[in-house]
């Protein structure tokens, strides 16, 4: 089976600093792939490199069948690969209405029929047309993130890059957004690449995941192995222990 997204030996270098260093992975069509790691591990930089927001210093990123897919950064590529950012307060233009926010990608890609597409996109993310002429400040955090998802989906991409899509949201709203994303993935046969620092969220959403540390991939493993504790690297084990919550004294990890 050919991969929906193939990343080979990717390196992103800023002024000699290797933010991402020799990372390779492949995501099958319709798969949901997770990337976990601490801040500064390079997990978001990988997504940004894939969608052209970070410079690819070395390596190769390919989308779609074989080498015939669109070149990264090209318009055709962006039509296939869209991204949802972490902070819905920062990623929507504060002076534009929802309608204009959603119309923009359609205008860039010269997609006809904006009217019906916008209505449909709003319905799909569960907001309805009543929200169409509101400004971002008139929406709650969860509603804004739904708009950001609608904006990404309005071009009908194959791959959705999700950069901590729920970490700025309250727990109850997080559950709603995660459910929406899962439902959309099944309905639209989307491929997800999801970055998060929350192991529970990633194992809930993704079948396989990659653990990152200091710009390098520590290991790639199925979520099920992680849950069973079938882990090769000590670092993954530390992350796993940490995500189980605080425990008093003896078994707390030694501070570094």
């Amino acid at each position: 089976m050919s991969a929906a997204l193939q990343v080979n030996d990717l390196a992103v270098v800023y002024d000699g600093y290797r933010a991402v260093d020799g990372v390779s992975f492949a995501v099958a069509p319709g798969e949901s792939f997770g990337i976990v790691g601490e801040s500064g591990s390079g997990k978001s930089t990988i997504l940004r490199a894939v969608c052209g927001l970070a410079p690819v210093t070395e390596g190769r990123i390919a989308v779609g069948a074989e080498a015939g897919g669109p070149r990264p950064g090209s318009r055709a590529f962006r039509r296939k690969v869209q991204m949802v950012f972490q902070d819905p307060y920062g990623s929507l233009h504060p002076r534009q209405t929802v309608d204009r926010i959603l119309a923009e990608p359609l205008a860039i890609h010269r997609v006809p029929d904006a009217e019906t597409r916008i209505t449909r996109a709003l319905d799909e993310v569960g907001l309805g047309t009543g929200f169409r002429f509101r400004f971002p400040h008139q929406l709650s955090g969860g509603q804004r993130q739904r708009i950001a998802i609608a904006r990404a989906l309005i071009l009908e991409p194959d791959i959705l890059l999700l950069d901590e899509p729920t970490s700025a949201l309250d727990a109850s709203v997080q559950a709603e957004v995660l459910n929406l994303l899962e439902e959309l993935r099944v309905r639209r046969h989307l491929t997800f690449v999801m970055v998060s620092h929350d192991l529970a969220v990633v194992t809930h959403m993704c079948g396989r995941l990659m653990v990152m540390r200091n710009g390098r991939s520590v290991e790639i493993l199925p979520s099920q192995s992680l849950i069973r504790g079938d882990i090769r690297s000590d670092y993954t084990r530390d992350l796993m222990t940490a995500s189980l919550g605080f425990r008093r004294r003896a078994d707390a990890p030694a501070p570094g």
Binding site: A171, E182, H197, D198, A242, A252, P253
Partner: protein, 278 residues
């Protein structure tokens, strides 16, 4: 155990655009001994405003009322500003969410700790420096002398938060209010900071109010948890009994979190009952 802090029917109202008061906190009551109390709620629930009102950091346009707001026998609402200022820092400390914003960016970490100490105690420069270094060591900073001379932008998030804790604890307060102290930190660093906080609070016999949106974290850290919704306490429960929580909001909050090793698709979502906010 005599109560260190008594809060009865605390209400905080902010004027809206038309000048009408809107209550953000609507009748919160609790008392605190030398124990760890967690206050959990979602954004806008009034949890942070409750903490700030105890310190007297409520914005000036807000109206704070309470039947009782007493710290160690002192009526906080009747206390003169100077008296409240004397309590702040010396007897009630506060650790905020993000060390990036709560440390002074143009002063070295060490000087800030020394300043905090000298503001509350009459201590000479040399002794203050020594105590600051000892405090940095107590929050498990490896080379205190080096970190002492660093500026906030030169330290990591976890180290910054340890510096904040050092600064708050150097005056040896009786009560520490920690408002989302670890939310800006990575999970592994979170645990280090929590275990340091846990040890120091335990050793010094302080009271702790731990404000957070993370119900599971709070329940693993605190003795008792107040769950707050729309400015009201909907449930007060011993952390160990959280599994037996009665209120549908508490149960909903616990259920909607994805858990490692559990298959629940879709996740249960919280259906909010307008009755809860009554």
């Amino acid at each position: 155990m005599s109560a260190l802090l008594t809060v009865e029917d605390l209400r905080i109202a902010f004027p809206n655009r038309d000048g009408d008061p809107v209550e953000a906190v609507r009748g919160v009551s609790f008392s605190l001994g030398r124990e760890r109390l967690g206050i959990v709620g979602e954004s806008g629930s009034g949890k942070s405003q409750t903490g700030r009102a105890i310190l007297g950091l409520t914005p000036p346009q807000a109206i704070v009322t309470a039947r009782t707001l007493a710290f160690d026998g002192i009526d906080l609402l009747k206390a003169a500003p100077a008296e409240r200022r004397a309590l702040r820092g010396a007897r009630i400390g506060m650790v905020l969410q993000d060390p990036k914003y709560s440390l002074n960016p143009v002063m070295t970490v060490g000087d800030q700790i020394v300043e905090a100490l000298q503001a509350h105690e009459n201590v000479g420069d040399r002794e203050a420096r020594e105590r600051a270094l000892a405090m940095l060591a107590a929050v498990q900073i490896d080379r205190p002398a080096r970190v002492f001379g660093l500026y906030p932008h030169e330290v990591s998030g976890g180290m910054g938060q340890r510096v904040m804790i050092a600064m708050m604890l150097i005056a040896d307060p009786d009560l520490l209010i920690a408002d989302e102290p670890t939310s800006a930190l990575d999970v592994t660093v979170q645990l280090q900071v929590l275990s340091i906080l846990d040890r120091l609070v335990g050793e010094r016999g302080m009271g702790l109010i731990f404000i957070s949106h993370d119900l599971r974290l709070v329940s693993s850290f605190c003795d008792r948890v107040l769950v707050i919704y729309a400015g009201r306490v909907v449930e007060e429960i011993a952390a160990a009994d959280l599994g037996a929580a009665q209120h549908p909001y508490t149960r909903g909050l616990l259920a909607c979190l994805p858990r490692l090793g559990e298959h629940r698709h879709p996740l249960p979502v919280l259906s909010r009952d307008p009755e809860w906010a009554r």
